[in-house]
């Protein structure tokens, strides 16, 4: 087992990266709340990303192949089952998305808080505080 993967700082960093990505996906959903035939998207849950259950990366066997994004990258997936669908085929519930944004915000607060307190411990150990 790689000890650096269990480091709370690395975990917080991974969580923050995931949250940042999710925020942009949610922003996209809300921006497209009136686009016909648009379905809301969400990213792979963090627990799955952490367990390494992400989509396998594309193999590059020749120099000319397009480089895939970093391994374990979160990917936006369309939601299959929508709570409501407008007559124009749009299936974005603003309430649902607002809830997710709030959730994301709280999680981000937690992750930055964790990061800060862990850094504080380092500083205490170094006698700078």
């Amino acid at each position: 087992m790689d000890p650096t993967r269990n480091d709370p700082l690395a975990l917080a960093e991974q969580r923050l990266r995931w949250l940042d990505h999710r925020q942009s996906v949610l922003a996209q959903n809300i921006a497209n709340a009136d686009t016909p035939h648009y379905r809301a998207r969400d990213v792979t849950p963090f627990a799955e990303v952490l367990a390494g259950h992400t989509a396998p990366a594309l193999a590059t066997t020749q120099a000319g192949h397009i480089q895939p994004g970093g391994a374990g990258e979160t990917r936006a997936i369309s939601e299959r089952r929508a709570a409501e669908e407008a007559p124009d085929g749009n299936a974005v519930s603003l309430e649902d998305q607002a809830l997710k944004v709030a959730e994301n915000d709280t999680a981000h607060q937690l992750a930055t808080g964790l990061h800060r307190s862990w850094m504080g411990m380092f500083q205490t150990a170094l006698g700078q505080r």
């Binding site: 922003a27 607002a98 944004v101 981000h108």
Partner: protein, 136 residues
């Protein structure tokens, strides 16, 4: 960076909603714009549709106005022989703008605009907290 992307996407969302509001304003302002020659067409209601677009330069998906079209609905007529746009039978064709429909559209645009704005504020908060964490 993803948070910057989120900011840009929210801004694009607000942009399309304000275009929609502008079209609503045009429609409402032209509610009584009839033609000025016999048989001339009055103002035709404009509609706006959005689409999910990929920005080729950055590869990010965002939203844009796909088309400002026109409403093909029939023009309602009114009997007013003295009007300059009245036809031989004395009927004037009036714009196919329904103020209630426009009002609903306006409310919806307003709601979507606020939703985008609140996402923008949340994203900004996240960005600030990240910078704060860097400060230690």
């Amino acid at each position: 960076m993803d948070l910057d992307r989120a900011l840009r996407i929210s801004a694009a969302g607000m942009n399309v909603q304000s275009t929609r509001l502008r079209v609503v304003a045009e429609n409402l302002a032209n509610r009584d714009s009839t033609g000025n020659a016999p048989g001339a067409d009055p103002y035709r209601r404009k509609t706006v549709t959005f689409s999910n677009a990929v920005d080729r330069a950055t590869g990010e998906e965002s939203v844009r106005v796909s088309r400002v079209g026109t409403d093909a609905a029939e023009f309602p007529t009114r009997y007013e022989p003295s009007h300059p746009a009245a036809d031989a039978q004395g009927y004037v064709r009036t714009p196919n703008v329904n103020s209630f429909v426009e009002m609903m559209d306006m409310r919806e645009a307003n709601r979507s605009y606020s939703a985008n704005l609140s996402v923008l504020e949340t994203t900004r908060g996240m960005l600030n907290r990240t910078i704060e964490a860097l400060r230690g």
